[in-house]
Symmetry: C3
Subunit: 428 residues, 3 copies
């Protein structure tokens, strides 16, 4: 141990002391500040709750935590030299995001109370809000240091919670649906931040470091499988009516099954030798769950969910084939983990499917409402996209300031900037 320590010391000196001093102190101060805020402004829930419902909430909280900590943590771990940072930073973002989201949720609740009352369902909600940060981090990963990610977390959670409050208060939108717009919001937020951070990216360096390693790919597959398995829990987490809950579980399961089969087939179909691309699989098998999200409690027969999953798989693979070229070279946005086609496109597809489904349903009952429903549906979806884009641009501007001491572009995607290695071997 002491030997390794000394070695890390010597090695480290070759790298710029980019975050020396500044970063860790700030996050520590932030943690202390959070404890003080919790001390003054929160109180625990003292109402006696139904024990059955309590355990139900606890189970869902556990499932969502598994998704965020294990699923997303390992989903992004396939970068050759960046596996450690992906998993550990992901846990950091989750732990920080949950604490912040509970506070934000409480402060923005109406009617405003002097003290925020924290229930088990608040933590569930906060974990889901924190997921927005983890999704965005997929686009930014490897290009930001811990201080930048911390700032991003604070801004993104605040904006996301505010957006959901507006949905609820002024557009009288369902809690479940506004949460399902998380994918669209987080994607465009992450892409905008990535745009600012990938300005001076050297293409050659990126490609060399961006490679996936064989064993890491199995870790990524592990993350994908965790997300695949627990996605029905996520999509039904905010639904209280048993029938809607059942429908949500059902349809999510079918959409995921259809998109898994589609993704593997199409990935082979688009390759000249019929070979499958592992990265496609990681991204596209989840597309079905994303796409069916907003409408999963309304769909009455499985074929519709399967159709959505099928289309989501197609769109996701299409995105993975065509987008990177265009985005990297023309726009200069480097999307590390392909967030745009994993969550962005399927999320948009899901939003549109929800609007169509609502209009179809309303057209059978009260035709006069169509216009209003159309307005609300398009409104919330655009709000999610717009707030993601605008907040992303602002955050990107802030993160690019010299004060953040971001890592030099040549050090992007490199665990060594952040981690003390006990020995010199970098790869394996």
């Amino acid at each position: 141990m002491p030997h390794g320590h000394r070695q890390g010391h010597r090695m480290g000196s070759k790298y710029p002391p980019s975050m020396r001093g500044c970063l860790p102190l700030w996050t520590l101060v932030l943690e202390v500040a959070l404890i003080v805020i919790f001390f003054f402004f929160t109180s625990s829930d003292t109402s006696s709750q139904d024990p059955k419902k309590l355990m139900g909430n606890f189970r869902v909280l556990q499932d969502v935590t598994i998704m965020v900590a294990l699923g997303f943590g390992f989903l992004n771990s396939s970068l050759r030299r960046y596996g450690w940072s992906s998993v550990a930073f992901n846990l950091f973002l989750l732990a920080l995001g949950v604490q912040w989201a509970v506070l934000m949720d409480g402060f923005l609740e109406r009617p405003f109370r002097k003290k925020v009352v924290i229930k088990l369902s608040s933590i569930k909600l906060a974990t889901m809000s924190a997921m927005s940060v983890v999704i965005s981090a997929g686009a930014v990963l490897g290009k930001a240091n811990l201080l930048q990610l911390t700032l991003m977390t604070l801004v993104e959670v605040t904006v996301f919670v505010t957006m959901r409050m507006i949905d609820r208060q002024y557009l009288s939108m369902d809690d479940h649906v506004s949460m399902m717009h998380i994918h669209v919001f987080a994607t465009y937020f992450g892409l905008m931040v990535a745009w600012f951070l990938s300005r001076c990216l050297n293409e050659r360096v990126t490609e060399e470091k961006n490679q996936t390693a064989k064993s890491s790919s199995l870790f990524t597959m592990l993350g994908t499988l965790f997300l695949w398995i627990f996605w029905p829990s996520f999509n039904s987490a905010l639904l209280d009516i048993p029938k809607e809950r059942k429908n949500a579980v059902f349809n999510t399961y079918y959409a995921l099954a259809a998109s898994a089969v589609t993704a593997i087939s199409v990935s082979a179909l688009t390759h000249p030798q019929g070979k499958i691309n592992m990265t496609h699989i990681h991204n596209a098998v989840l597309a079905g769950g994303v796409a069916v999200g907003p409408s999963c409690h309304l769909i009455a027969s499985p074929w519709l969910a399967m159709l959505l999953g099928f289309m989501a798989g197609l769109i996701s693979i299409w995105g993975a084939l065509c987008l990177p070229e265009y985005f990297n070279h023309v726009l200069g946005i480097h999307d590390t983990c392909g967030v745009h086609y994993t969550f962005g496109f399927p999320g948009l597809l899901g939003g549109i499917a929800y609007i169509l489904l609502i209009i179809y349903e309303v057209s059978w009952t009260k035709q006069s409402m169509i216009g209003y429903q159309l307005f609300i549906g398009i409104g919330t979806l655009s709000l999610a996209m717009a707030s993601g884009l605008i907040a992303g641009v602002l955050t990107g501007l802030v993160l690019n300031l010299k004060i953040c001491k971001g890592p030099h572009a040549a050090k992007y995607f490199d665990d060594q900037v952040f981690w003390e290695f006990p020995h010199l071997a970098i790869g394996f």
Copy 2:
């Protein structure tokens, strides 16, 4: 990304374009056909269900999905050059198998209805039926392409669901017990298919590629542990009476504990230097759960479950030591992941234990029934074995047809036939 793409292109051309065009199109067409069938022949369950029972069913479904997707996915990932295919093809088989099994279950139900009504418990059942495919795939893995595996899935699920229908309708067999014969059925199905595919297997190539890598072994251990932890859920999934359910969980847990201790001890005992063989561990720690399956709800005291676990561990290790030599050289059946001694032998042991237990119980109450019970017990077990063998032979014949364009024997156990690699490194 584009660089890697081009490279994969160049590399791929060295390999025979075995599945070019044909394969992915077929699976895509199949998925579309499934959506159309679901559109015409299924309807969702509209009855208002007890929310408590609903969540219980959902939890069990989740546990079984974890077992199939994560457990079996990683259990077979220890092959040195075949880790990617094992995990990804496993997910493909699960996603496809579930969709097909739900349809088959519905069509074969009596009284026959015009539209299949899909409940949450149908998906649970379908996932368990899909497990038969994943078990068989353990014997076939590395020797079949995706089209062959797809065909195998369709045939195996159909035969398995039909077999269970016959058990229920004509032999008035318990649903739980007939499901527990899945191990025997799937093993002999898989072995027969493997027999046809391993005809022209070059021994030297196999051995070199069949090696396990150190880090993959940890992935396999991960799969084993997932199966170990969730096996009690699987064995109690179809039991509704709380007392039986409790017994099942209990006894499975004890049998697994006993077989884990036995497996590790015996593996060391049979080695001249007292060393443990990792492959033995992967296989034998699960044997207890398999063996206790059919009788787990009947066993009244833990010692019997432990005894079964103990014997299963012994049999499984004995199989792993003696069988491969004989099967590989004399019969020419190459069992990639040792399905025969992991699931086959312990499954047979479990079937026999169930028959003995039923006879013992009946002999105390109504002695006249012994003959009938003996007939039923032996009947279902033989049915499982026979239908597995026959269906396996037929499937093997079909898969060997030129139309399937199976991979050349020299390319067996090689990820490179199926996957586009972003860089040239094959091993790690």
Copy 3:
């Protein structure tokens, strides 16, 4: 397979046949003995239980099993040449410990019954008791063979269950709190055993073999994340009152979030270049859950739990920085996985926090009780520590006997002593 077998044979002969014959036979005999004891002295629970409570107990049992089998299994897998042993021996210890703990729990229960009645909650309790062995094994790992670990399991579980019985009977201590002292007990037990086994440890060899590999570190992270996610389940497992249960889940979650943020920040803060040490992360993110354990059902507002988590993170990192040097060189205790600062210090902090909290609460209601509460609180904590130390010394003495044929110090931390390798490659 046969080829690999022969090769392992040749290779193995270079190593001392330390456990030839003796070890595996003993563990097999032990397993048979356990079955016989279960046959004569136990009976299954025949009372009809509430199915809802049954499933609740089953879920908690499953969560705890995940923690012990997956969490602890992979937490200790980061040693470069010792990954296989860590995970597989961990499963062995769990399977053996559970069987033994159920018996011990039953025999020590008052009023004494002729036959031990085993309930689902007994297995839950036994799994938690078996956790003590797995924690201690973290300090001993790499320095003991399977026979030594088996002996350790039997002694440690017996002492731990006895200690809990004394807490319950003579100090009328809460079941939950006395279980939470498991961390302190297991740490000092493990350290004492490690002290005896690391006598003749060659420093240079240790350091070389003690290194962590990159991909193993991700496995360790996997273990850490499993523990992180399921820790709230563990801390609330023995609480029956819904309100206390809710508080426990709540506070554990907050403490874990705070300690995760703190650990990552402080680890970077203490490094001259602001780099994070992966080993610190593995250890310190869990400290919050350990520290909040004994008092988690009493804490009324989240800030207190967060403060405990914050302090636990600080203490844990401080320990990781300062202790190894001192313990290794001065005392000669080699703590393989840093059990002392992962579980020992935070456990002590938690014990002290519980005493302070109880005194604070009592001082508001009945001031006359303060002295008594102080005595009970300090008494149980010291009892845990003392019994750990004494039992550890005795066990260490026994394990050092020639009869155990422990591995030679030069072979410490080496998978090759215990495992048959199919090929020669040791590292990766």
